[in-house]
Symmetry: C2
Subunit: 231 residues, 2 copies
């Protein structure tokens, strides 16, 4: 089976993202350090995020609103104005930090372009994902950009059907087992997991039981060799 | 020239939206009534929204963040916790209010379906626009759904090109001259303006000078007759 189409996740696959959220969360804990211990406050923030997720979706704006809600909760409504202003500033920083491709990304995309159909498939705030792609300078490597609200098997089937790409000769590549690999396998694609050092709480998942269309690679630079072996 | 494709805006064209934002803004002014007169506070909120727009885009989450920022500004950082909690609740309400089609919408879409290619073209929060369409029950009338971060001529050209629909036999219908009509005309489409009683500050614009491909209708129910006259 030759792979004719490759879907790439963006955040933490092509460029850093979770590390920025992690640093933001560290500063949130530091701003509120008089109101609880870090583990407890992290659990509270994660619970608020989870509850808001069906309304806010993924992305920095919803995360900022959840930080503000958690801060109000932890302080019993007595958040200092300076803390709130700092949380708003942290949220804005998440929307405009410089986007640098991870090691090997540019070279790998350059090597694959023209050999396979390359799709960027990412979830989050629509405008922000467009702006991050523009800042990354990677836009021209992709034949199509798909920004979606949720990455499930239905989404992957819909995207590859719309581009008339058979799922059995397509592979999805990303850092999240839960969003990039498991639903892609369920949709009939191949799935390649390239872990990132940090995983968001809502992205944690177990590897697939059936590994026949699944691979785990150390870095994106190993993708061309994997494709040769599966040609 | 027969019109083969019709693009519909969603918010304030198919269902109420600005009236919800307007009611939310009224409550914002009421919550902060001790900190300025309504006109001045509205101007401050609009200025904050305008400044945040390039980062936040359109939609309820960005509007909520801008309300919080303006409240901090108006109170010199002394916003009561209860006010902040109310602003968060108002923002959530904007994301989940019931979506009822405006008068004539369902009948008109039913009459046009199958006769023309129907596209929904809307801007705002990706997840929220999807959820509003689902709540409206109108999803099945459309051949394609396009949720975009900005409605300009480039966007309209890209959308109609992707669906292989010639712009000169397509019309865009919406309540906003600025987002629905003027850029559609610039892209080579026809444009129909159906005003809504309220217009957001960032959507105000003058009608086109050249009216050859432009019409203003009172209600969406007049669209089938307009199409017959232009067949």
């Amino acid at each position: 089976m030759t792979i004719t189409a490759i879907g790439f996740d963006a955040d933490d696959t092509l460029w850093h993202n979770e590390s920025m959220f992690h640093m933001t969360q560290q500063e949130f804990l530091d701003l509120l350090k008089d109101h609880g211990d870090p583990a407890e406050m992290t659990a509270r923030l994660n619970a608020v995020e989870r509850r808001n997720h069906k309304l806010y979706g993924y992305g920095a704006k919803g995360f900022t609103l959840s930080m503000i809600e958690t801060a109000l909760d932890l302080t019993h409504g007595e958040v200092p104005g300076a803390t709130l202003e700092r949380l708003l500033a942290l949220g804005r920083a998440l929307l405009e930090y410089p986007i640098e491709p991870l090691d090997g990304v540019t070279e790998t995309l350059a090597a694959l372009k023209g050999q396979h159909r390359l799709l960027l498939i990412t979830k989050g705030d629509l405008l922000n994902q467009e702006q991050k792609l523009a800042r990354s300078g990677l836009g021209d490597y992709f034949d199509a950009i798909e920004i979606v609200s949720e990455k499930d098997a239905v989404t992957y089937r819909r995207i590859f059907a719309r581009h008339a790409l058979p799922t059995e000769s397509a592979v999805m590549i990303g850092n999240s087992l839960k969003s990039d690999v498991l639903p892609a396998l369920e949709a009939g694609l191949w799935g390649i997991h390239i872990p990132y050092p940090l995983t968001a709480a809502h992205e944690v998942a177990e590897p697939p039981q059936d590994a026949s269309r699944y691979a785990k690679l150390e870095t994106i630079a190993e993708v061309p060799l994997w494709l040769q072996r599966h040609a």
